[in-house]
Every structure is written in structure tokens, then in C-alpha cells.
């Protein structure tokens, strides 16, 4: 009746399940797509005029908004992972011969897909507001690569937080620091305009090199120093998230 089950096939079945969840949960899509656009309009149309960044503000802020769009989608992932764990349905999967990783991989992949949708929306609106990137086709591929890598890394970290949280509410709260991080980076204003303490934090926190990499790529002047730091941060966070997720998942099993 059944053939040999493979983790890959299980993952794609779980991914289809997660996709349906997302489409049916309008709040998730609102957070991932509409909310970053609202923030974008606020920063560009309301605050942006007062900021002096030496450049058209929309060109400065778009890379930061891409990162923010990614982090906004994370709350939904943490909540979804947690409700999978706290509702009985996870036990059903556990007593079946289903790949353990598949249950978590599905969430990471859907996080990445949601991030891509959110980022595409941001870029679309940015163009409508006069965004004028100088990026070549290769630079754009680099932008795509960074977005996917960051979503993947943040996705694993968020899955771990969702697993570690006791309730769905606290899982949503656990993702808040990740949502706040872009504000304490060079996303909206250059780090060297910030107060002491905050400035040092902004310079050394992971989102700054990631945002600077995106900024360089979109301006057509990629900097390899930032790019290496960005990739290193992403891989490090992904590994940390993965190890934390798997050990938490085993403990809760």
C-alpha cells in the first residue's frame, strides 16, 4: 500500500499544508505584505522629507524596508510552529512514519516564500514612488540571493523560538526582537547619525551588514566586505536556529 517515504516528499506535502494555511489566514498576509508597505509609506512620505541621507530617501530606505518586510513575516511563523506543537495535530504526525525534519522544513520554506512575496510588493511600490536603482541583472540576482538567505536563516531561528515558547501568544512575542532589529540598524537612517551606544549596536548587529549589502547591490556598487559579513551572519544564524530547533523538537517530542 505504501512506498518508501522520503523526507523530501514529506516536506513537499507539509509545504502544501502550510501554503493552504497561509492563504486562509488573511492576517498573516496582512503582516507579511501590507504592513511593511504601510511602514514604507510612513517613512518615505511622512518622516523621509526630514531625513538627510545624502541621496533620494526612497533609494536609501528600500533595502532597509526589504529586511523589515522579512522580519515582519516572522511573527506568523513563530505562532504557526507553536500552534502546531500545542494542538494535537503534531502528535498525529509524530506517531506516523513521517520525517521529523519535514514538519519544520515546511515552515522554513513557507517563511521564505512569504518573504519573497513581501519583498516583491515593497519593490513594486518603491518603483511607483520613484525608486531608481542602478543594479545590473547580476546585482538583482545577488539581492534575491540575500533575501532568500536571510529568510532561510531567520526562518530557522524563528522556528526554534516557536518551538521553545510555551503558548502561541508568547511565541508571537518571541519574534518581536527580530522585528525591532531593523529599526536599530542602518535601515532607516545611517548608523553614524545615532546616539552613542545605539550607534555601536547598530554597527555591529547582523542586520546592518545585510542591509548594506542590499544597498550596495541595488546601487550597483556591491561591497565585498559587507557581503562576506552578511553571508557569514546568515549562515551562522541558520545553523544556530537549526540546531536549536532540532534539539527543542526532540525535547518536546
Amino acid at each position: 500500500m505504501s512506498t518508501v517515504s522520503t523526507p523530501l516528499a514529506d516536506s513537499s506535502i507539509m509545504l502544501r499544508r502550510n501554503l493552504k494555511h497561509n492563504v486562509r489566514n488573511p492576517v498573516t498576509m496582512f503582516n507579511a505584505v501590507l504592513f511593511p508597505i504601510v511602514i514604507m509609506l510612513m517613512f518615505v512620505k511622512v518622516f523621509g522629507g526630514a531625513f538627510s541621507v545624502g541621496d533620494a530617501y526612497i533609494d536609501y530606505v528600500t533595502p532597509g524596508l526589504l529586511v523589515m518586510a522579512i522580519s515582519y513575516g516572522l511573527g506568523a511563523t513563530a505562532t504557526a510552529v507553536n500552534s502546531d506543537m500545542t494542538k494535537g495535530v503534531i502528535n498525529r504526525f509524530k506517531v506516523m512514519d513521517v520525517s521529523r525534519g519535514a514538519m519544520l522544513t515546511g515552515h522554513v520554506v513557507i517563511t521564505t516564500v512569504r518573504s519573497l512575496v513581501g519583498c516583491a510588493a515593497i519593490i513594486g511600490v518603491a518603483f511607483a514612488m520613484g525608486f531608481d536603482p542602478a543594479a545590473s541583472a547580476v546585482d538583482w540576482l545577488g539581492v534575491l540571493g540575500v533575501i532568500v538567505l536571510l529568510s532561510f536563516a531567520a526562518g530557522w531561528l524563528t522556528v526554534a523560538m516557536g518551538l521553545a515558547a510555551k503558548t502561541a501568544e508568547s511565541a508571537g512575542m518571541a519574534a518581536v526582537p527580530l522585528i525591532m532589529l531593523p529599526f536599530l540598524s542602518s535601515a532607516f537612517v545611517p548608523a553614524d547619525t545615532m546616539g552613542a551606544g545605539v550607534r555601536q549596536f547598530a554597527e555591529y548587529q547582523p542586520f546592518t551588514p545585510i542591509i548594506e549589502t542590499l544597498r550596495g547591490l541595488l546601487a550597483g556598487t556591491p561591497s565585498s566586505g559587507d557581503a562576506i559579513a552578511a553571508v557569514a551572519w546568515c549562515l551562522g544564524l541558520a545553523l544556530l536556529g537549526y540546531v536549536w530547533s532540532v534539539s527543542t523538537f526532540k525535547k518536546r517530542a
Binding site: 500500500m1 505504501s2 514529506d10 493552504k20 494535537g88 506517531v95 517530542a253
Partner: protein, 317 residues
Amino acid sequence: MRSSAIAVSGLRKAYGDKVVLDGIDFDVAAGSIFSLLGPNGAGKTTTVNVLTTLLKADAGTVSIAGHDVVSATRQVRAAIGVTGQFAAVDELLSGRENLQLMADLKRVRSGDQLVTRLLERFDLVESADKLAATYSGGMRRKLDLAMTLVGNPQIIFLDEPTTGLDPRSRRTMWGIVRELVAEGTTIFLTTQYLEEADQLADRIAVLNQGRLVAQGTPEELKRQIPGTHIRFRFADVYELDAAARVLAEATRDDEELTLRVPSDGETRSLRALLDRLDTHTIDAQEFSVHRPDLDDVFLALTDHTSTEHPSKEAIAQ
């Protein structure tokens, strides 16, 4: 003799100092219904979790469908289906999608047909395309059980499957369980409802404070409790007085106007009893044979728990 579907021996599990299962042994014959009874906190769900590979025991062996739960976990998982205490359905999927998900994960060929058959069998066709979040408690349980049946598991674990269901849904559930056993499935059932165990189970084990305090058929368990008696009710207190003089061994209840006479409940002794009343022309309005039911058995076997715990707490305070 039929082979064992489930064989458990010397099962122990403790969380820190708290011993949850303290050496449990039982066997379940293939194609039978085995019911684990016990008060809340007796260790029923822990037992189910160990048997269904969700939890590792500290000691003892568990063999499910001939496979050891520790060394052959995959084979065990392939042989079992589990319906837990809380309906494990995906609320953001429709009934049909929930079943399809199971069919996909179990790699069932022609899953569509199976899904349609299950929806029909569980009377869920009308709501098949509505989200499970909109289902009533009874419908969720039915969907849950239908999901468990995907892939035809040989052994099905039902952990309090009818808790919170109305009497009609409960009876529907019992009907389905009986059908499954008729098809050769083995059922391991935990329940708080003694009537349910009485109705369904071939064998019952009573779990109390992590130990099995009794095991047997429902009839065997009831026989362990002495106390079958005949109950007479009389029209007035004069009749009651007269009868009490004739039946000296009876205990009387003046408020209810009843006499309770210990008896084995067999026809010969019944006739003798009725003859004694008849020779004194005493007329009872009502008479009934009262056998101890599983409630009595349950209370008798697990009585000390309910009294022991509060006193311990009182001392601690």
C-alpha cells in the same frame, strides 16, 4: 490461542520523583477490544504515549504487532493508528483536505477514492469542504477517527475517544469501533466512562496510581465485588415492618420504604425469597435484582486514592 497484538511487561515510567507507571504487564489479543480504565492522573495517557512511541519508558518491554517500540519504532508506527484525547485535526484545512493529507503522508494509492469512502462512512460528505474549525465536537471526533483509519492500521489506540460527546455521537462512535473490530482491527481504548468499557471491551484493566489493580472481562470484574442483592419496595411502612420481620437478614430503608436482601441473584433463591413473602401475604410494589456495575467495581478498586491524596496534602499544609 490467538497471537498478542500488544504485549507489555514490566513497564515503568517516572518523572523525577513522581512514579507514573510502576511495573505494568498486560497482553491484548489480536482482533479484540482492550480497555484501560482509571481515574484522572492514573497514568492512562502516559501508557498510551509509551505504546504509541511518543514517550520512552524507563524500564520494561513493549511489543506492538510483534515489533519492539524501541528497536523497531518505524515498523510500530506503520502498524498503528492513534486518536488522542484532543481531536488532532488541522483546523485550517477542510475535512477532505485533512483526510487527503493523511493519504499523502501514508502514500496511499488512489487516495481520492479512499477519502471519498471515508467521508461517506463517517457521514461527513456535506461538510467535506468546510474548514474543520467550523466542525462541531462530534464531527471533529469523527474526522479524527477517519484520519486515523487512513492506511488501515492493524492496531488503533483510542484515548478517551468519546469524552465530551453527546449520547448520540457516543453511540455512533461505539458503532464504528464495533465495525472496526469486526474487520479484525485490535482496539486499545482508554476511557473514564465505565459504561463504555462495559459496552465495548472484551477485557478491562483497571489502572490506579501507576499499577494495574484488576484485570479481566467486565463480568469477571463485577464478580470480584460482592454485593448482588434483591431490592423490594413496599406501599407503606406497615408492609415494610411486616416484611422486615419475615426477611430478618435484610437491611431496611424507612425513607425509601425498601428492603435490600443479599442474594446470588439466581432464580432458585429468588423464588424462595418471593415464596417467603407470599406465605405471609406480603405484597411488594416493586422488586429488582441489583448487580454491582462497573461503577461499583471502579470505586471499590480505586477508593483509597481519592481519600489518600487530600489527607497527604492536609498533612503537608
